[in-house]
C-alpha cells in the first residue's frame, strides 16, 4: 500500500498476533491462579511461576523484535529499486498477497473465545506433556522452567508468523510506514488480551472487534481492487510508454476504453488525503471495469464466507461435506482416545494397579 506513515495492513496483523499472544499469556496466568494460586500452600511458588510466565514472554517478545527488526532492516537496505519497469506488476501482486493474508485472518478475530478455548486445550496438553519429559539435563530444565518456556516458545512462534505476514503485506511500503502501526498493533492487542483476562465486558470487547474487523475487510476489499487496478495500469503503461507518466492525472494517464470513471483531481498517488482514502477504501481517481468489479466480487466472497462459517458452526460441517467431515472427526476422536488410554495404562502400571480399558459408547 502506498500509505507513507501508517501501513494499515501491518497494524492489523500485529494487532491480531499480539492479541493471540496475550490470550495465551492470560490463559496461562488463569491456569496458574486456579491451579497453584488457589491453594494457599505455596504463595511463593505461585509468585515465582507467575514471574516465569512474564520473563518467558518478555524474552520471547524481545527476540521477536530483534528478528523482526533485522529482517525488515535487511529487506530495506538491500534496496528495492529492482522493480524497474515491472513496478506496477509487483505492486499489484503485493496488494494481492496482502489482501489474501488479512482476509484469511480477519474473520477469526471474531471468534476470540474459540481461540481461547483452543489455547486452553493446547496448554493443558502441554502441561501434561511435561510430566513425560526425559530424565536428562534438558528434561529437568524444561520441567523446572516450563512456565517460562511455554510462553517464550508460543510468543516466538506467533511473532515469527507475524513478521512473515508483515513482510508479505508490506512489500510496497516505505520503511517509515512501520513503527507506528507496529506500536499501535502491539498496544491494541495487549489491551484486548488484558481485558479478556480480567473477564471484562465481553459484549463491549466484541463490539470493538466487530468494528475492527469491518475496517479490516474494507482495507482488504480496497487492496484487492488495487491489485487488479495495478495490473491493468501496467498493461496501459506498456501500451503508451512515457506518455502515461507525463500525463499526470489528465487525459492519457488512463485507458479510455476501460474507464468507468475518471476525475482529474484526487489522485491517491500524489494527494495526501486521497492516499488515506485509497488505503482504507481502495479509492482510485481513475477506476476501471476491472477495479470496480473486483471490489464487488471481494465483498460477495466475504458474505459467502460468513454464510459458510455460520453454517458450519451450526451444523458441524460445511455444506456438502457432511460425510467427509464426520469421518475425519471420528478419526480424530479415536486418536485422542488411544492416547488417553495409553496414559491411563501407564499410570495404572506405575501405581501397580490393574488397568481396565474404559468402555465408552462409540461415537
Amino acid at each position: 500500500m502506498a500509505n507513507n506513515v501508517f501501513d494499515v495492513s501491518v497494524f492489523f496483523i500485529v494487532f491480531r498476533e499480539t492479541l493471540e499472544a496475550s490470550i495465551i499469556i492470560s490463559v496461562l496466568l488463569a491456569f496458574l491462579k486456579q491451579g497453584v494460586g488457589r491453594s494457599s500452600e505455596d504463595p511463593l511458588l505461585y509468585k515465582r511461576l507467575v514471574k516465569h510466565v512474564w520473563v518467558g514472554s518478555a524474552i520471547g517478545l524481545f527476540c521477536c523484535l530483534v528478528i523482526g527488526g533485522a529482517f525488515i532492516g535487511t529487506w530495506y537496505s538491500l534496496g528495492r529499486d529492482i522493480w524497474g519497469s515491472a513496478e506496477d506488476i509487483y505492486e499489484g501482486v503485493f496488494c494481492l498477497i496482502a489482501t489474501i493474508i488479512i482476509s484469511i485472518m480477519g474473520l477469526a478475530m471474531l471468534r476470540l473465545n474459540k481461540l481461547k478455548e483452543k489455547w486452553r486445550v493446547k496448554i493443558a496438553e502441554a502441561l501434561e506433556e511435561r510430566n513425560h519429559y526425559g530424565k536428562g539435563w534438558f528434561g529437568r530444565f524444561s520441567r523446572k522452567y516450563a512456565m517460562a518456556i511455554l510462553p517464550l516458545i508460543t510468543i516466538l512462534r506467533e511473532g515469527v508468523e507475524a513478521i512473515v505476514f508483515v513482510g508479505g503485506v508490506s512489500l510496497s511500503s516505505p520503511a517509515k510506514a512501520f513503527p507506528l502501526p507496529v506500536i499501535c498493533g502491539l498496544a491494541g492487542g495487549i489491551l484486548i488480551g488484558y481485558l479478556m483476562y480480567k473477564g471484562g465486558d465481553f459484549v463491549k470487547i466484541q463490539f470493538f472487534l466487530i468494528v475492527a474487523t469491518c475496517f479490516l475487510y474494507l482495507v482488504g476489499a480496497g487492496l484487492f481492487s488495487k491489485a487488479v487496478w495495478y495490473l491493468e495500469f501496467y498493461k496501459w503503461v506498456q501500451l503508451v510508454g512515457d506518455g502515461a507518466a507525463e500525463s499526470g492525472t489528465g487525459a492519457g494517464s488512463y485507458d479510455i476504453r476501460k474507464s468507468v470513471w475518471h476525475v482529474n483531481c484526487c489522485d491517491p498517488e500524489n494527494d495526501g488525503g486521497w492516499m488515506i482514502f485509497n488505503a482504507l477504501f481502495g479509492w482510485q481517481n481513475s477506476a476501471t471495469y476491472g477495479s470496480v468489479i473486483s471490489y464487488n466480487i471481494y465483498w460477495i466472497a466475504v458474505m459467502v464466507a460468513v454464510l459458510l462459517f455460520l453454517y458450519k458452526e451450526k451444523n458441524g460441517y460445511y455444506p456438502g461435506l457432511k460425510s467427509w467431515t464426520l469421518k475425519r472427526d471420528a478419526k480424530k476422536v479415536a486418536k485422542r482416545r488411544a492416547k488417553m488410554e495409553a496414559r491411563r495404562a501407564e499410570a495404572a502400571a506405575a501405581a501397580g494397579e490393574e488397568y481396565e480399558e474404559t468402555k465408552t459408547a462409540s461415537v
Partner: protein, 602 residues
C-alpha cells in the same frame, strides 16, 4: 558533389526574356530511395525518379504542371507561396480548393506566376509530402537589385524511414500517444542527400536560396568562417541584413548572398542542425546535425564542424522589406488560442480555441461556387468543424494567435504574404502564458517584415495582418505536418461573391471529383437542398467524459452497497458469537476440558 545550380548566371540579367509557358508533365508514382544511406524505403517519385525535380520559371511565365497520379492513393500539389490571384482553384489543398486527385486520374495546374523569389511545391493530400513528394520552385527575376556571380539553391529537410501514413495511424493520432508526441525523424538531409560538398570559387558571391522542405523540425543553418547577407524571405525582398546564423522553420525560405574567401587552402563545414526543443525525446541513434562543406579545394581535408555553445540566429522579425509598407490598420480581427488536447477517442488533437479542423465533404471552394449567391457569404454553410471565416473584399484582416502550447508552431497562410505586426518572446515557464493585449502592444516595427510562414513561440503570441484583395478560399494552418493532421487549421473564405465572379473551375478538376466519388456540390455536409442544414457533416470526436458519468455513479453506488452489505454480514457473524459465548462460559468456566470427547465445541 556540386550543389544544385540553377541554369542562370548573372550574365543574363541584362536581357529579360519574354513571358512564356513552362510545362512539366509529371507521372507521380512510388519509387524507392535511400538518401541517408541508412535505410531504403518507398517514396513518392516523379517520372520514375526521386528526388522530385525543381520547377524553374521566370516572373510572368505561365506554369503548367500536368500531373498523372499513378500512386495507389490520391494526390495533389500545392505551390507554396504562390498567390494564385484569380486562380484559387490551382492552389492545391484537398477539400479546400479541390478534391483529391484519385489514383489513375490526371490533373492540370495552370497559372501565371506574377511574383519572384524562392518557393517550393509539395503534396497537399494529408501527410503525403513527408513521403518525399516535394521540391523547390524557383522564380527568376530579370530585374533583381543585387550583384552576384552564381544562383544556387539548398533544400533542408528532416527524413523518416517509416511511411508517414503508417506513422499517423499507428503511432501518432491514436490513444497510445496521449501526449501527442510527434514522430522523431531519423535523419536530416541537404538537397535530399548528405555530405554535400559544394564546390566554390574564391572571391565569388553566391546567391544561395535556402528552402526548408521538411515536415516537422526547424533547423539552424550556419557556415563556418563565413557570414552572409539576408536578401529575401518567402519571396519578399529585404534590405541586406548581415547575419551568421539562421533559424529556418519548415516551409520557410531565406535567400542569402554569401561571398567566399580569398584563399583556397582549406574547406569550411556548413551545418544544419535540428531544433531539439521540438523533439519530445532524443533517441541515441538520431543524427541531428547534418554537415556539408564549402569546398575550395577538393584535395584538402574536410574537417568536422566545430561544436558551438549557443544558437545565435538572426530574428527575422527585424528584417525590413525593400518595398516598405507601414502597418495597416485592421478592419477585422480573428483571435484564436492554439491548444493541444485529447478527445474522447483518447488521441491528442490540435485546436484553434475549442475547434479542431475536420475536412468537409465538399471542398470549400466548391461550396462557394454551388451555394445560392446570398448564402455564400454566411460562414455557417462551410461547416461547424472547419474553423471557417468569411472575409470581406478589401478588408485588412488581422489574425492574433495566442499559443496555449509549449511548442513552436510555424503557421502558413495560403494566397498571401502578411505583415508581421508583433511577435512575443516565449514565456519563462511552461505555466505562464503571454497573451496579446491590444491596449498594451509590444514592439512594432516602423516597416513591418512580411512573409508567408511565421513561427509562433512557446506560450507566446503573434499578430499578422494582410489585405483581403485576393478572392479565394485560403487555408491557414500550422506547417508541421503532424499538427495539420491533428486539425490545426482554419479556412478563410475571402470575398465569396468575388470568387464566384472571377474563379472558374476547369473540367478536369470536376472530373477528378467524380472519378474519386467525392461530393462536389453543396455545403460542408454535401447538402444541396438546404445549405444551412449541416446534418451528416464530418465533426470532431466527442470530448472525453469529464468526471462521473452515469456508469461511474452506478459503479460507485453499487460498490458502496456491497461494502455496507458485507460489513453487515460481518457484524452478523460477530454478534452470533455473543450468543454462543454466554452458553459456553456457563459450561466451561474454569474447568480443564480434558474430558471433551470431540474436538468441536458445542
Amino acid at each position: 558533389m556540386r550543389l544544385s545550380t540553377i541554369l542562370l548566371g548573372a550574365a543574363t540579367a541584362a536581357a529579360s526574356v519574354a513571358a512564356k509557358t513552362v510545362q512539366y508533365d509529371w507521372v507521380v508514382s512510388t519509387v524507392t530511395a535511400n538518401p541517408d544511406d541508412l535505410y531504403e524505403r518507398d517514396v513518392v517519385g516523379v517520372n520514375g525518379a526521386w528526388p522530385p525535380p525543381p520547377i524553374v520559371v521566370e516572373k510572368g511565365d505561365r506554369l503548367i504542371v500536368n500531373m498523372t497520379n499513378k500512386l495507389d492513393q490520391p494526390a495533389s500539389i500545392h505551390f507554396h507561396g504562390m498567390y494564385q490571384n484569380g486562380t484559387n482553384e490551382m492552389d492545391g489543398p484537398v477539400f479546400v480548393t479541390q478534391c483529391p486527385v484519385p489514383s489513375g486520374s490526371n490533373f492540370i495546374y495552370n497559372f501565371t506566376v506574377d511574383q519572384v523569389g524562392s518557393y517550393w511545391y509539395h503534396s497537399h493530400y494529408k501527410a503525403q509530402y513527408v513521403n518525399g513528394f516535394r521540391g523547390p520552385l524557383i522564380v527568376k527575376d530579370p530585374d533583381e537589385p543585387w550583384d552576384y556571380d552564381e544562383d544556387v539553391y539548398l533544400t533542408l529537410s528532416d527524413w523518416y524511414h517509416d511511411d508517414a501514413f503508417y506513422l499517423v495511424k499507428n503511432e501518432f493520432l491514436t490513444l497510445r500517444n496521449p501526449t501527442g508526441a510527434e514522430p522523431i525523424p531519423d535523419a536530416g538531409l541537404m538537397n535530399d542527400t548528405q555530405n554535400v560538398k559544394w564546390k566554390v570559387e574564391p572571391n565569388t558571391t553566391y546567391k544561395l536560396r535556402i528552402i526548408n522542405i521538411g515536415g516537422f523540425v526547424s533547423q539552424y543553418i550556419w557556415f563556418e568562417g563565413h557570414d552572409f547577407e539576408i536578401v529575401e524571405v518567402d519571396g519578399i525582398y529585404v534590405e541586406n541584413q548581415k547575419a551568421s546564423m539562421l533559424y529556418v522553420t519548415v516551409a520557410q525560405r531565406y535567400t542569402i548572398l554569401l561571398t567566399t574567401k580569398n584563399t583556397t587552402d582549406e574547406n569550411f563545414p556548413f551545418m544544419i542542425s535540428f531544433d531539439l526543443n521540438m523533439l519530445d525525446n532524443l533517441p541515441d541513434t538520431l543524427q541531428y546535425n547534418t554537415t556539408g562543406w564549402l569546398t575550395y579545394d577538393e584535395d584538402a581535408d574536410f574537417p568536422d564542424a566545430a561544436v558551438i555553445d549557443e544558437f545565435d540566429f538572426y530574428d527575422d522579425f527585424y528584417l525590413v522589406p525593400l518595398e516598405k509598407e507601414e502597418p495597416w490598420e485592421a478592419d477585422t480581427t480573428i483571435t484564436a488560442t492554439v491548444i493541444m488536447d485529447n478527445l474522447g477517442d483518447g488521441a491528442n488533437y490540435a485546436f484553434f480555441s475549442n475547434e479542431t479542423y475536420v475536412a468537409p465533404k465538399v471542398p470549400t471552394l466548391m461550396t462557394v461556387m454551388s451555394a445560392p449567391e446570398n448564402e455564400s457569404t454566411n460562414a455557417w454553410i462551410y461547416g461547424s468543424n472547419t474553423n471557417a471565416h468569411v472575409l470581406e473584399y478589401g478588408d485588412v484582416v488581422e489574425i492574433v494567435l495566442n499559443n496555449g502550447d509549449t511548442g513552436t508552431h510555424p503557421f502558413h497562410l495560403h494566397g498571401h504574404a502578411f505583415q508581421v505586426i508583433e511577435r512575443s518572446n516565449a514565456s519563462d515557464s511552461d505555466d505562464d502564458f503571454i497573451t496579446y493585449d491590444a491596449s498594451n502592444p509590444g514592439i512594432i516595427n516602423e516597416y513591418p517584415m512580411r512573409r508567408d510562414t511565421l513561427y509562433l513561440r512557446p506560450n507566446g503570441y503573434f499578430v499578422i495582418r494582410f489585405k483581403a484583395n485576393n478572392p479565394g478560399v485560403w487555408f491557414f494552418h500550422c506547417h508541421i505536418e503532424w499538427h495539420l493532421e491533428q486539425g490545426l487549421a482554419m479556412t478563410l473564405i475571402e470575398a465569396p461573391t468575388e470568387i464566384r465572379e472571377r474563379i472558374t473551375i476547369p473540367d478536369d478538376h470536376w472530373a477528378a471529383c467524380k472519378a474519386g466519388g467525392y461530393s462536389y456540390e453543396g455545403n460542408a455536409a454535401a447538402n444541396t437542398e438546404n445549405y444551412f442544414d449541416l446534418t451528416g457533416e464530418a465533426v470532431q470526436p466527442d470530448p472525453l467524459p469529464a468526471g462521473f458519468t452515469a456508469r461511474g455513479i452506478v459503479a460507485m453506488v453499487f460498490s458502496c452497497v456491497s461494502a455496507f452489505l458485507g460489513m453487515g454480514f460481518i457484524t452478523w457473524y460477530g454478534m452470533s458469537e455473543l450468543k454462543t459465548t454466554e452458553h459456553e462460559v456457563a459450561q466451561v468456566m474454569g474447568e480443564i476440558p480434558l474430558d471433551d470427547e470431540s474436538g468441536e465445541s458445542k
